[in-house]
């Protein structure tokens, strides 16, 4: 049963707390900060896709005036680890070391220099002499596991620290399989069966702020890291691990982050930066150039899907078989978990009893893949979204009707929930919040679906520019259930204001604001009375970090708990002041009021009494929450395209997305998330593309040649919120960060089909590919 929540602060589009300082250009980002004596570090990157380092001579570089330290595999401890910012024990293979005696892709780390200026560091890099023994390389994910292929991770110490299948000797770095019901039987009985192969491509996050890190020593010898990082607590743990120091010797501070989208859910710079600080005793700064971000940070996993689906005579899904091969690149950060979500967080959208999933991730000598918004659901939504359209056509149903018929509803559960989560076994869940049918209906109406379908059907046969429309439903489960944990600490100040200390990681998403709204709602105070502080491993309690669409849902519940505890304490003190039983008291507009006598006492009086008056104590509370479930956020996407049939170019004039994120704590912020995610999906589908040469070198590592949209290209994007109520979430909220990106790829493919009658199963839908498909058809 849904009930929509509407509160005083929750559910209102309050101003994003940091928006004005950001609009004023205040120095709030990692690199807006210099320290006396700061050194600048630069990396030497591998020029070869696969090679052993036969010899490396850093002596000339060390000797250069102004150079303070040079690091390579010879002078750093070999600590095998994963760079993936995930909870411990990490579900990614331990296959990375700070510097290795082997390189595995063009752009891999070879060495690094810390010097007094960037220019000196760059000159020093040129003085490092490396002799390589080139090895054969493999780039094609479909052949990486073949017999006789070069072994990328042949080091004896690579491993997982959880018991999963891992066969690096075959370049095989992750495997998940699942069987529910009986797919073979189901498809045998099916009226129509579809067997298709799909392929997605390498893309990148393109956060405008490059990866940045500054580290320095505190007087007591502790290492402080200030970094543009989505996972400060995981960073602390993994940096300590790499430096072989106790965790208590490391502090990670997260300032404002200029976008992340998953690219900063990694320990990408912090280990080397901190090592330099440890060795030189000086502050050290590392900021990647844009080219280095493109090549040596992280990409989306490229994936190939072999699908088999079918529908019964009554238009219901008879079975889904998904076989996926995911390309990890040279290292396996997030290799298993992204692939797992192709099933775990994608397929529970569909009402289907027979599901088979066979997933494998492989190593290749290409830039490393990692976490990226959508995280497996984005990729797997492509084959599912297109196949649903094909099946709707075979069933002679409007896709809108077909999706409504074959997707889950409130009250449903799904066999996959229990069998598989993002990390291993999942959690059984009944869907308690789902406004998907309403999302479909409202989206179709706002978009003008029926009318546009008709117009497209009636357009002149010979028009060179052809219009088409397409739609899909998408889902994203929030959090890694039973694993993700968030905690907060709050305390009351003299004037009735509150400090809210959270480990949660705002990266532009506005979680500072959203968490403050939840806190303010519970205590019935204005936003200005909440002082959020994020995130610092010394001062704020643990939070897993910003990923898996988890902050609003899990951190939000912790905030709610802490606020309730504080409310109780305030009422206790007020009861003393008023001389009334606390059962008769409630909070109201920064006061505690008696329901019986109408007597009231202000929060500031309560605070002063508790701090200075009687029974002095600090009114404060901490709270921790583990995500109990992965509640699903739903989105329905409607897109209009115009295809130039002579050049193959596809323009998107119009996109509507309807979104069910439970209660939108801040509607404007939620819409902003959806709009940004949608545009990212559109440009990925059409214009973004890594181009590799035959050695896996990135030929277009810059914004000139890797195109994302500007205001000149962006379509009209309309985001409409369709609230539901998630009982396990704070004030009914779920999270909203990722689902918006998952629809563009399949919806645009469907719209192109609607326009010109060709199905595209391989992304991106470049003009050349589209034109070729059009020509092949005729």
């Amino acid at each position: 049963m849904s009930k929509n929540f509407s509160g005083k602060v929750v559910g209102t589009s309050v101003r994003k707390i940091d928006s004005i300082p950001l609009a004023m250009g205040k120095p709030m980002f990692t690199d807006d900060f210099t320290l006396p004596g700061m050194l600048y570090a630069k990396f030497l990157w591998s020029p070869l896709p696969h090679a052993r380092i036969k010899s490396i001579d850093t002596s000339k570089a060390q000797a250069l005036s102004g150079v303070h330290a040079v690091l390579c595999y010879k002078n750093v401890p070999r600590v095998i680890h994963t760079t993936a910012g995930q909870g411990w024990p990490e579900p990614s293979p331990y296959d990375a070391v700070m510097f290795d005696s082997k390189v595995r892709y063009i752009g891999d780390r070879v060495a690094a220099v810390a010097a007094e200026t960037e220019e000196i560091a760059e000159r020093a890099l040129k003085l490092i002499k490396v002799e390589y023994e080139p090895l054969p390389a493999i780039f094609d994910l479909e052949h990486a596991m073949d017999e006789g292929m070069p072994v990328i991770h042949d080091e004896p110490d690579c491993k997982y620290i959880i018991p999963v299948l891992y066969e690096p000797q075959h370049n095989h770095c992750a495997h998940i399989d699942l069987d529910v019901g009986n797919v073979d039987e189901g498809l045998k009985e099916a009226e129509f069966v579809f067997e298709r192969k799909f392929k997605t491509h390498h893309g990148q996050h393109c956060a405008l702020e490059p990866h940045s890190c500054i580290s320095y020593l505190e007087p007591n010898g502790r290492i402080v890291i200030r970094s543009s990082n989505q996972v400060p607590f995981h960073a602390r743990r993994i940096v300590a691990q790499c430096l072989q120091v106790p965790e208590r010797m490391v502090r990670v501070i997260k300032p404002r982050i200029g976008g992340g989208f998953g690219s900063k859910q990694e320990i990408l710079l912090e280990d080397v930066c901190a090592m330099f600080t440890m060795r030189t005793k000086r502050p050290v700064r590392i900021v990647l150039t844009r080219e280095e971000v493109f090549v040596s940070s992280r990409t989306r996993h490229q994936m190939a899907f072999w699908m088999k689906t079918g529908i019964s005579h009554d238009g219901t899904l008879a079975g889904i078989s998904m076989k996926v091969l995911s390309n990890a690149g040279a290292y396996g950060s997030h290799a298993m978990t992204v692939m797992s979500n192709c099933c775990a967080k994608t397929l529970p959208l569909y009402k289907c009893k027979n599901i088979r999933f066979d997933g494998n991730t492989v190593y290749t000598n290409l830039p490393q893949a990692g976490a990226y918004r959508g995280y497996g659901v984005f990729e797997a939504s492509f084959p599912m979204g297109v196949l649903m359209d094909e099946m709707a056509e075979a069933a002679m149903m409007d896709p809108v009707e077909f999706w409504l018929k074959n997707t889950v509803k409130e009250g449903d559960n799904h066999p996959i929930f229990e069998k598989l989560g993002e990390v291993g076994k999942g959690v059984a869940m009944t869907i308690e919040s789902c406004s998907l049918p309403e999302c479909v209906e409202k989206g179709a109406a706002a978009f003008g679906w029926k009318q546009k379908l008709e117009e497209c059907r009636n357009q002149p046969k010979d028009s060179k520019l052809r219009r088409g429309v397409g739609m899909v439903c998408t889902v994203q489960g929030a959090t890694v259930a039973l694993i993700d944990m968030a905690s907060v600490y709050a305390k009351m100040n003299d004037d009735g204001s509150f400090n809210l200390l959270m480990g949660a990681t705002d990266l532009g998403t506005g979680c500072d604001t959203v968490m403050s709204q939840i806190f303010a709602e519970t205590l019935d105070i204005p936003m200005e009375d909440v002082i959020p502080y994020v995130s610092d491993t010394d001062l704020t309690p643990f939070d897993k970090g910003a990923y898996a669409s988890g902050t609003t849902y899990v951190t939000g519940m912790a905030v709610l708990d802490a606020a309730k505890k504080i409310r109780e304490q305030i009422i206790e003190v007020a009861a003393e002041i008023l001389g009334e039983p606390k059962e008769d008291l409630k909070v109201e507009k920064k006061c505690v009021v008696s329901g019986k006598t109408a007597k009231r006492v202000e929060y500031t009086q309560v605070a002063k009494r508790s701090l200075y008056g009687r029974n002095q104590h600090q009114i404060s509370a901490s709270a921790s929450r583990v995500s109990p479930l992965p509640p699903q956020t739903y989105a329905v996407h409607f897109v209009e395209v115009v295809v130039d049939t002579e050049t193959g170019q596809v323009i998107v004039p119009n996109y509507v997305i309807t979104l069910d994120c439970g209660t939108p704590i801040n509607p404007r912020l939620a819409k902003g998330q959806a709009e940004g995610a949608v545009l990212n999906g559109i440009s990925y589908a059409l214009t973004e593309q890594f181009i590799f040469d035959e050695n896996g070198r990135v030929l277009n590592p810059n914004f000139s040649r890797y195109r994302i949209f500007t205001t000149a290209d962006v379509p009209k994007i309309t985001a409409i919120l369709v609230p539901s109520y998630e009982p396990t979430g704070p004030y009914g909220a779920k999270s909203a960060g990722e689902v918006g990106i998952n629809g563009a790829l399949p919806a645009i493919s469907n719209a192109i089909y609607n326009a010109v009658g060709v199905r595209l199963y391989k992304s991106p839908f470049t003009p050349e590919r589209v034109l070729k498909a059009i020509k092949n058809k005729s």
């Binding site: 589009s13 101003r15 994003k16 940091d18 928006s19 004005i20 950001l22 609009a23 004023m24 250009g25 205040k26 120095p27 709030m28 980002f29 690199d31 807006d32 996050h205 393109c206 956060a207 405008l208 702020e209 490059p210 404002r256 982050i257 200029g258 976008g259 989208f261 900021v287 150039t289 844009r290 990266l507 532009g508 998403t509 506005g510 404007r668 912020l669 819409k671 902003g672 709009e675 940004g676 995610a677 949608v678 545009l679 990212n680 810059n702 914004f703 000139s704 994302i708 949209f709 500007t710 205001t711 000149a712 962006v714 994007i717 985001a719």
Partner: protein, 162 residues
């Protein structure tokens, strides 16, 4: 080498190497609101106004600032009184991570100063040199529309008093 120019209304002497670009010199001088997203003129977050024109400061040589008037984001608004455009960005929800915001705000200022009643196409064109990955641009375009409207209204109110 050394040049003098005006930055945010203040006479400034800048000292730098001849090959240096304006962006790095500005940041060194403490203007951290001028951002470095690529250093190659491809992302636009380094945009400042030079004699009222939007310019990518990572391409312009610092030496070319000689005798010019430069406006960085720090020159717009004050803590007590943010600029009308900055407020509009905040009101419209156009600020997410904020890394592109200074460049967007300055681009909007250049537009509104020369075209007080811009159409949506005018706005899209004026901002087409600054990349944003967070917002999808919708609310940024809304913010500029809002700012233009408020600027006109303010001018009308001020004209009334005269």
């Amino acid at each position: 080498m050394e040049i003098t120019c005006k930055i945010n209304g203040e006479e400034k002497k800048l000292v730098f190497e001849p090959h240096e670009k304006l962006l790095h010199v500005l940041r060194r001088e403490g203007y951290f609101g001028v951002k470095d997203g690529c250093s190659t003129g491809e992302c636009g977050v380094c945009t400042v106004l030079v004699d009222g024109r939007p310019v990518k400061s990572c391409l312009m040589f610092a030496a070319q600032a000689k005798g010019k008037e430069i406006l960085t984001i720090e020159g717009l608004g004050s803590d007590d009184s943010p600029h009308l455009i900055q407020l509009a960005f905040s009101d419209a929800g156009a600020v997410q991570c904020g890394f592109c915001t200074p460049a967007m705000v300055l681009s909007a200022k250049a537009l509104i100063d020369s075209n007080p009643d811009p159409s949506e196409d005018d706005i899209r064109k004026a901002l087409d040199g600054v990349l944003c990955r967070c917002t999808g641009y919708m609310k940024i375009i809304d913010a500029v529309k809002l700012a233009a409207r408020r600027t006109l209204e303010k001018a009308e109110r001020e004209a009334e008093y005269e």
